[in-house]
Amino acid sequence: MCGLIGFSDTAGTRHSGEAVVRAMALQHDRGNGLGAGYAGHGIYPEFPDHYAFHLIYETREALEATEAFIDHYYDLERAEALPTRRTTGITDAPLLWRYFAKPESKKLRDSGISDDDYVVNAVMHINTSIEGATVASSGKNMGVFKGVGFPEEIGHFYRIEDYEAHTWIAHNRFPTNSLAWWGGAHPFSLLNYSLVHNGEISSYGINKRYIRQFGYICTMFTDTEVAAYLFDLLIRRHGLTAEQACKALAPPLWSQIDRMDDKARHDYTLLREIYASAMLNGPFAIVLGTDEGMVAFNDRVKLRPLVAAVEGTQVAVASEESSLRELLPAPDFLWAPKAGEPVIVRRGQAFQPPVVSTSKPAGSPVGGAVASMDVLTSESEVSA
């Protein structure tokens, strides 16, 4: 059991993390003190074009080796310790630093790859080759703050209330079958994607080997890490929309595909075949934070909870309604998203709360076909 929250303002208005910490604290008992974290998108407007690297160091040697690496490959604008404060319950905090940097232009040019790929390579290098160093986040104008503790403790420790973001995601961890350590807390992040997860990715082994072929190396001993990399692969590199990515990771069951019309059956069959090894199996609720907003979705049979609410331009999702009430005390609409149907919030676009329809089998007395591929591209199709 874990707890999670996502919050995004479609108007791009930035909000202090304080309310998110308060809301997360209401899910205290979904965790056991062995992990919590926050990601804020839009928190570093003074450095919009620099990659913000958040680093976790277990040793001073790791810090020195990493800084030598960054110094060699990047133009560094600023390096500083992450502001923290003493907090009851937080012990054995590692060294926590952040760096605002751009790829060194000649080396980037010589590498022949995009600046984003240059950064991904750096992250993979640090995580795999520098012992005791872990990259918590590496995106622009965003950052991950995570560690071992309860969410209210981690929020206090990192002074989350000092940051303002248009999109926040938060997590309270109850590790069941993986290691509890600072790097293994959620969110997991790469470039501008941050991700929290409640549940278990039973397909982790297959997924991990699949993305290894694309240069992603899992090092953090937590299944969730693979989902963060999958979104970078599917959305940034393969150009899928957020809807398509969600449908690739949590596709309709074959029994549902069998009942679709010809086009949808064809499209979904293709999607499942192409991304067979990317599919996430097992019980999960996932929230993805991006520079664009957020995406929340469930496994296909709803084995983990997820509720959502909208109030004006603010949209929130959470494992428990209490958190929504703390964030949005007077919601316009509050609902439980359907299993496998993503909630997608995009900055600059008015959010339409889906009036969720229940998919009908063919020949249903009241007629109608199950969702077609059109829902992947047209939001309005979701409301039936």
Binding site: V21, R22, A25, L26, Q27, H28, D29, R60, L63, E64, E67, I70, D71, L76, A79, E80, A81, L82, P83, T84, R85, R86, T87, T88, A93, L95, L96, Y99, P151, E152, G155, H156, R159, E161, V301, K302, P305, V307, E320, E321, S322, S323, R325, W335, A336, K338, A339, V355, V356, S357, T358, S359, K360, P361, A362, G363, S364, P365, V366, A384
Partner: protein
């Protein structure tokens, strides 16, 4: 090394007493206001004596639950019950789990304003819980007796393993409602839903009765999701909506509700509508479908011939 940064300094700011941790729940006894309706009563009367010729209504209490941790709230409830209070209102509830767990006083009324957390009324043995708001997951988990009435919607696994008593939800419910419900002799648990239900309604249901009305929903689409009655081998479900066999588990069969069956349901549905101020005529109109197992022991031979 980067620049001239000093790494000798820990990246830990000095302790700042002015900045206290952001608190979620607080661990202290809640503020309780007890009103003694009959101030002339020398002692607190028991429920039994209050029904006699000299009615002295037992005191009522209002508890401010704002951000009070569930343990302190339940301790306050237990203390009030021990003091003879039989009408308790919790105000500003938000997310506290296990509220009303294991209460057994048949004459106790617990009113909850706000959103109670997981496992509301778990192991309930007799009280009446009234929720003025939505409920989260696990309402009436393993409940034995008593009443839970939710004036809003509820989440997943309502009535998990429920074995007695009654759960009424005015609005919609989530997934796996009535999972593992069971009955024994005169104990027949009942769940009535005023709105719609999602997939796995009555999953592994072994006893009891569920009624789905679809008269007070905020959702569009089908009243009942997929995989209805999967693994069901006891009890019965009545749904006031068309049901397709393809929506259901292979263990169940569908029949239109008979007049005799409707005669049995009518008082229950009428009472449900009275509780929530719904139109009983509308709730009773239309065809009800009965969903019940086709075999009482579908897995009887599962491990016989391995």
């Amino acid at each position: 090394m980067i620049g001239n940064l000093s790494h000798d300094k820990m990246n830990m700011a000095e302790a700042d007493p002015a900045t206290r941790p952001i608190e979620g729940y607080v661990h202290r006894a809640p503020t309780v206001t007890v009103s003694r309706r009959d101030t002339t009563a020398a002692t607190i009367t028991t429920a039994a004596s209050s029904a006699t010729a000299t009615p002295a209504a037992p005191p009522a209490a209002i508890v401010d639950a704002d951000h009070i941790y569930y343990r302190e709230l339940n301790a306050a409830i237990a203390g009030l019950v021990a003091d003879g209070v039989r009408d308790i209102t919790l105000r500003r509830v938000n997310g506290q789990r296990y509220l009303g767990n294991g209460l057994t006083s048949p004459d106790l009324r617990l009113r909850i304003e706000g959103v109670p957390g997981q496992d509301l009324g778990m192991f309930l043995g007799g009280a009446a819980i009234e929720v003025y708001g939505n409920a989260q997951d696990g309402v009436g988990n393993t409940m034995e007796a008593g009443h839970i009435h939710v004036h809003g919607s509820a989440g997943d696994v309502v009535g998990y393993g429920m074995r007695g008593g009654e759960v009424f939800i005015r609005g919609d419910v989530g997934y796996r409602v009535g999972i593992h419900m069971k009955q024994y002799q005169s104990r027949v648990p009942t769940i009535i839903i005023g709105g719609k239900a999602r997939d796995f309604f009555g999953e592994y249901m072994a006893g009891g009765r569920m009624i789905l009305l679809d008269v007070a929903s905020q959702l569009s689409g089908d009243a009942l999701g997929m995989y209805v009655g999967t693994g069901m081998h006891g009890g019965e479900i009545y749904a006031r909506c068309p049901v397709n066999p393809a929506q259901c588990g292979r263990e169940v069969g569908l029949t239109p509700a008979t007049d005799d069956q409707m005669a049995e349901l009518t008082p229950l549905i009428s009472r449900f509508c009275t509780v929530f101020g719904l139109d009983a005529d509308r709730a009773l109109a239309g065809q009800f479908t009965r969903i019940a197992p086709v075999s009482s022991r579908p897995y009887g031979n599962l491990y016989v011939n391995l």
